[in-house]
Symmetry: C2
Subunit: 126 residues, 2 copies
Amino acid sequence: MGIIRKTKAVETLLQEFSKSGTAISAKLLIERLKSKFNKTTIYRVLDKLEDDGLLHSFLGKDGLKWYAKCHGCTATEHQDLHPHFQCLNCGKVDCLQVPVTISEIPNRKILVSQVLIQGTCEECIK
Amino acid sequence: MGIIRKTKAVETLLQEFSKSGTAISAKLLIERLKSKFNKTTIYRVLDKLEDDGLLHSFLGKDGLKWYAKCHGCTATEHQDLHPHFQCLNCGKVDCLQVPVTISEIPNRKILVSQVLIQGTCEECIK
DNA sequence: GTTTATGCAAATTCTTTGCAATACT
DNA sequence: AGTATTGCAAAGAATTTGCATAAAC
């Protein structure tokens, strides 16, 4: 909630997502930016960016929290439900734009759906 | 791997899954069975049951490991990829039998897919 | 100047490991 | 008897919290 201040940590993290295009785990970001920012800061900024609809998160089978850029989300509604693909060989997580169809479920209201597909990625399949 | 001994812990855990029909988190099982078994035992038995194709696991958005009974899996292949539904109100996780369609992804080999749908469950929607 | 973000250390939470004791076949 | 399982305590790993300092608006 609230306004996002354009601090160094916020800008740096947003840059990481812009230049990568894939999902990135909190752990990886902490490792990558440990000379510049404290891990607590990274966790807090990621959390805030998610709150404000700039990132969305999901848990990989590795138990780590992964973040990716949202496309068309707002602070109140996370619409960007694209599936994620995690390579079981190299661990990389990509955002996919393939459609996932989930039929209506009687008596239940669907708010969010999280699809994690696992397999072998483009690089590792070679 | 190896033969599953029908120990009390194994039998008790399998019973929990039989009588519930829903997915159950390791944490909940530990809480529920803490007078009978050590948490280490519960983690280890769940792990073994998964290895042997009797249970499968996934991570909820809560960061907890959830387990559910497999249908038609073997120790070598986990075929039971039904989606899970987690109620954001009461936290309960159900196994659903609705179909999920994921189209082929070029240059990638799909091995596993995990679908977690979140929303409001039958009870909480009333 | 006031509010919000940051860094550090410590605490939390879930899960795993080592090892001696116990139970299973 | 021999092997796998169990319990307990301690270790691990990721994340969160409290609080004083620093930066943003």
